[in-house]
């Protein structure tokens, strides 16, 4: 999303200026704290005006977010944040609008709205806090939980296959898709900046640890020891390199991606997949880098901007049509409207 920034000559705001006086009520150690901090920091870095910023959320642990942001905010109803945010955006094109949702809120009860905000490309920063569990309702499996997950509602293991949020986003014709994690704050900030610069709906999936009900769901990607082996950090125009000594890469083996060893002499960086965030085919494949990291020859999980293209956004086209209608028919006159085309006198 792109927004105007505060153009006042006041002291620039600091991260803490975006915090409210309300006690933050997440469980100690929850990944949400880190994300809150990074969002506040990035808003300050962008130079956002608190009075010109709105944070809209649904229901869930992550959706408490607006209460902790000293901006305008609405804690709405379960799953519907995209619709509230879209309506607000259609009313006001100058606000910086941030939408906070979770995997249950955004992909279960609100799955329909997720699809439609993405395809409409409403200019909004959408942050999906994915913790692969229902936290607020105390620990049922979520639509992103892995198959066979044992929870209170699934004592014998869950039997529905998980949704892949980034693949869903690309299938919905999203124009900006990124992935980040709560534990890599530097990278998260970079991605939040990128998301904000995007004109349209920016979809950012953030892996967030729920230390109470799903502790360690993403440790394979976030833990220092395994992270280099399980993740690849994308850079536009750069090859897909990863590994402890940056000794692994991804090549195309015919139509399919394959992990290769750069140390064996068989492949060099020149042979590797070059990331192009504007390429829908490559991006589609990247969203499918979704292997279980514990599997042998698993593809690394991509982080960074998977896809970003410029497309017209919904409300811009809406306003264009309003202008066009006035150009074609003239600014509507109320008396003409009330009288209509055919009248008679008695």
């Amino acid at each position: 999303m792109t927004t105007q920034t505060a153009s006042t000559n006041q002291e620039p705001l600091k991260a803490k200026d975006f915090a409210t006086d309300q006690d933050v009520r997440w469980c100690p150690g929850c990944g949400d704290y880190s994300i809150l901090k990074q969002v506040q920091t990035v808003m300050a870095e962008i130079g956002l005006d608190k009075d010109n910023t709105a944070v809209i959320s649904g229901i869930g642990c992550s959706s408490r977010f607006p209460y902790y942001m000293d901006t305008y905010g609405m804690h709405s109803i379960h799953g519907r944040a995209p619709a509230f945010a879209s309506g607000l955006r259609m009313a006001n094109r100058d606000l910086s609008i941030w939408l906070v949702t979770g995997d249950g809120d955004g992909f279960s009860i609100g799955g329909n709205h997720m699809l439609h905000i993405l395809r409409r490309n409403v200019n909004i920063n959408l942050l999906l806090f994915n913790n692969q569990i229902y936290g607020l309702t105390k620990g049922q499996y979520s639509p992103t939980s892995e198959l066979n997950k044992r929870t209170k509602s699934t004592p014998m293991g869950s039997i529905d296959r998980p949704v892949n949020p980034c693949a869903f986003a690309i299938g919905s014709n999203a124009t900006f898709i990124a992935r980040a994690m709560d534990r890599d704050t530097k990278h998260l900030k970079t991605i939040l900046h990128r998301a904000d610069q995007h004109h349209g709906t920016s979809f950012t999936e953030i892996y967030q640890n729920c230390n109470i009900f799903n502790d360690g769901a993403f440790f394979a990607f976030t833990d220092k020891a395994t992270k280099p082996l399980t993740t690849v950090f994308l850079e536009h125009g750069q090859p897909l390199v990863f590994g402890t000594e940056r000794n692994k890469g991804v090549v195309f083996n015919g139509m399919r991606p394959k992990v290769v060893d750069l140390g064996s002499g068989e492949y060099s960086e020149n042979d590797l997949w070059i990331h192009d965030e504007t390429d829908i085919f490559k991006a589609t494949m990247l969203t499918r880098f979704f292997d279980d990291p514990s599997e042998e020859s698993a593809l690394p999980r991509p982080f960074g901007v998977l896809y970003a293209v410029d497309e017209p956004c919904y409300e811009d086209m809406m306003f264009e049509q309003l202008d066009q209608a006035i150009e074609e028919k003239g600014d509507g006159d109320l008396d003409d409207l009330i009288a209509g085309p055919r009248t008679w006198v008695i």
Binding site: Y72, G73, R80, A83, S86, N92, G332, G340
Partner: protein, 613 residues
């Protein structure tokens, strides 16, 4: 032979034919010609439930009814005097509603073997010649044949030629009711300006129909209906759904707030979405949402952003909007939810009319959730009623449910429309920007208990709102028991307090006190007017009161009701308003109920009223 012209006080005509026979257009054109004669009138269309039912079948019959006269006309008519039947199915569907001795104008070409079979006439018996229509006056016109003959020289294909056959019937009716063709020719000229061949064919057939009446000796009667004693002024025809569109745009202009309409297609409310979408040059933003829930939620988002936000739906959609309506209520944001009622429950009778969502509008939400309810009574009344709904929403910071129904939305009547300068402004009070850095109190209230509308983007007012219970004044989340009770009561008191800002209940016609009051809401207006007019002329002590404000009720309603020995409430439901009135005023009100997807007939209500007198 010279035909004599007879004068009639009122006539009801039903145009009925196959969906493809252009009956809505014929009816519409006959209506606008009627309006120009100065008659009062009411119309109602009767659409088939299926979109493209097979031609010639009962399911494919489409109708249009017009009641016009030199006296006040209150309803589209219980029965009709004239039935235009373009085919056998149209006759079969409508014959029971034709009054005894009425006239049938039948297109004989629509009664061939195939049509009779499709209309399920037993053994292919043709009602036109088996004597079964003996009690009626039957005028047989070979419409299809004569249309084709009129157009032998036209370059149009046979299918296109046949499409002109409704003009033949219309021309014939114009002859029968002593009308000029001018108005219709002007309309056709506009409509077919880019298709000269079609235009020529339509006009030729229209004239042929007129001349057929003029030159054939078969038909000896012509009729004339004089102008009605309508108030002097400039009029237009108005349909209920159109009146809502105009009322919304007027409220937007008069409040200075841009209009946002979030909606999901649903019969019969979609007409409003279509109507508003045509008026983007009035700054109207229409949003076809992905579902009913997104429709209301996007509207709440737009309301938060400072727009006059509206969402429209019909019964099942209102059910889906319930949770979000509760949010709008607790947020205390202005919003109007339009419910064009149809037959329920569930999908019910989507193309038929009913008044069975009143209890849903009043109570259909979780928790204590008071919401004002406003109702329209006639197509033209919908203009003022929706304007009032917007005014109350904006000035009292509350969602409002606006009730109409299929009968009002699709019905039409003449309307002596106002000049925009005669319509009052709606004053809007936004919370002003704050420079001093003090904490803003989003739920501080004025003496009417109304909070201020603080729109994102306003300096110094950054604040959070949400669906969790809020602390008085600050709006911070609060689980405090006493606070919850306080807030529940204050929200209730705010809505009840609106009674101070609406007009007192008036009597439409009849005495202020007496034997019987017929109390109506919604589309029963016309039938009650008609019945009470008759009863008054017979010397009974009867009055009619019509509710526009159902929540809160006007302050004087209780006293007004107590001025009558009996109160009768006719409704197209099992007695929903009656139960609210009983509950509120402990009055033993009587009910008259009809749940058949069709309006209450004058004769039915007259009978019910007389039983009480």
């Amino acid at each position: 032979m010279k035909t004599d012209v007879k004068t009639r006080k009122a006539v009801t005509i039903k145009f009925a034919g196959d969906s493809g026979d252009g009956m809505q257009l014929s009816g519409g054109l006959f209506t606008s010609s009627t309006a120009l004669t100065g008659s009062d009138l009411a119309t109602f269309p009767d659409f088939p439930a299926e979109i493209r039912a097979p031609a010639g079948t009962i399911a494919g019959v489409s109708g249009f009814q017009i009641h016009f006269g030199s006296q006040k006309i209150f309803t589209p008519g219980d029965t009709f005097d004239v039935l235009v039947a373009m085919n056998a199915a149209a006759l079969k569907t409508n014959i029971d509603t034709l009054r005894e001795g009425g006239t049938i104008i039948a297109n004989t070409d629509g009664f061939d073997k195939k049509n009779l079979r499709l209309a399920k006439y037993e053994n292919g018996a043709n009602p036109l010649d088996d004597g079964s229509l003996a009690g009626y006056q039957l005028l047989e016109l070979p419409v299809t044949k004569m249309t084709r003959e009129t157009l032998t020289d036209s370059p149009l294909g046979l299918k296109e030629k046949d499409r002109c056959k409704n003009m033949f019937v219309l021309g014939f009716l114009f002859w029968r009711y002593s009308r000029s063709l001018q108005d219709t020719i002007e309309f056709l000229t506009g409509k077919f300006s880019k298709k000269p061949d079609v235009l020529e064919a339509n006009i030729k057939v229209l004239q042929a129909g007129y001349n057929f009446g003029d030159t054939t000796e078969t038909f000896t009667s012509r009729y004339e209906i004089k102008a009605a004693p309508l108030e002097k002024g400039t009029y237009r025809g108005i349909m209920g759904s159109e009146a809502i569109v105009l009322g919304l745009i007027t409220a937007s202009k008069k409040s200075g707030l841009p209009l946002f309409y979030g909606s999901y297609p649903i019969t019969p409310a979609s007409e409003i979405l279509h109507g508003l979408s045509r008026h983007k040059n009035y700054g109207v933003k229409t949003f076809q949402a992905e579902d009913e829930i997104a429709a209301i939620c996007s509207s709440i988002g737009a309301a938060y952003g400072g727009h006059l936000a509206i969402t429209g739906t019909s019964g099942p959609g209102l059910a889906l909007k319930g949770e979000a309506l509760g949010l709008a209520m607790i947020l205390e944001l202005p919003l109007v939810v339009i419910n064009i009622q149809r037959g329920g429950p569930s999908t019910g009778l989507p193309t038929k009319t009913e008044q069975s969502d009143l209890l849903q509008a009043m109570y259909g939400r979780n928790g204590e959730c008071p919401i004002p309810v406003i109702s329209a009574s006639t197509p033209a009344d919908a203009f003022e009623a929706i304007f009032e709904a917007c005014r109350i929403a904006i000035q009292h910071m509350t969602p409002v449910v606006f009730m109409s129904d299929g009968f009002i939305s699709n019905g039409s009547e003449p309307w002596k429309f106002p000049k925009s300068s005669e319509i009052p402004d709606i004053t809007v009070q936004f919370a002003p920007p704050k420079e001093n850095g003090d904490t803003y109190l989003p739920y501080a209230r004025d003496e009417r208990l109304v909070r201020k509308w603080a729109v994102p983007g306003t300096k110094g007012l950054a604040h959070r709102i949400g669906g969790l219970e809020k602390e008085a004044e600050t709006g911070n989340v609060s689980y405090d028991p006493a606070n919850h009770e306080y807030m529940t009561k204050i929200r209730e008191a705010k809505v009840e307090g609106i009674a101070e800002f609406i007009p007192e209940q008036a009597i439409e016609i009849g005495p202020e006190e007496g034997d019987l009051l017929i109390l109506g809401w919604g589309s029963s207006y016309g039938v009650i007017q008609s019945v009470v007019t008759t009863l008054l002329s017979e010397g009974h002590s009867v009055a009619h009161a019509q509710l526009r404000y159902i929540r809160p009720f006007p302050k004087n309603l209780g006293n007004l009701l107590k001025g009558f020995k009996q109160v009768l409430i006719p409704e197209m439901n099992t007695g929903q308003l009656a139960s609210i009135i009983r509950n509120k005023f402990l009055l033993d009100v009587k009910q008259y109920n009809k749940i058949q997807g069709t309006p209450i007939a004058t004769s039915e209500l007259l009978h019910a009223a007389k039983e009480l007198l």
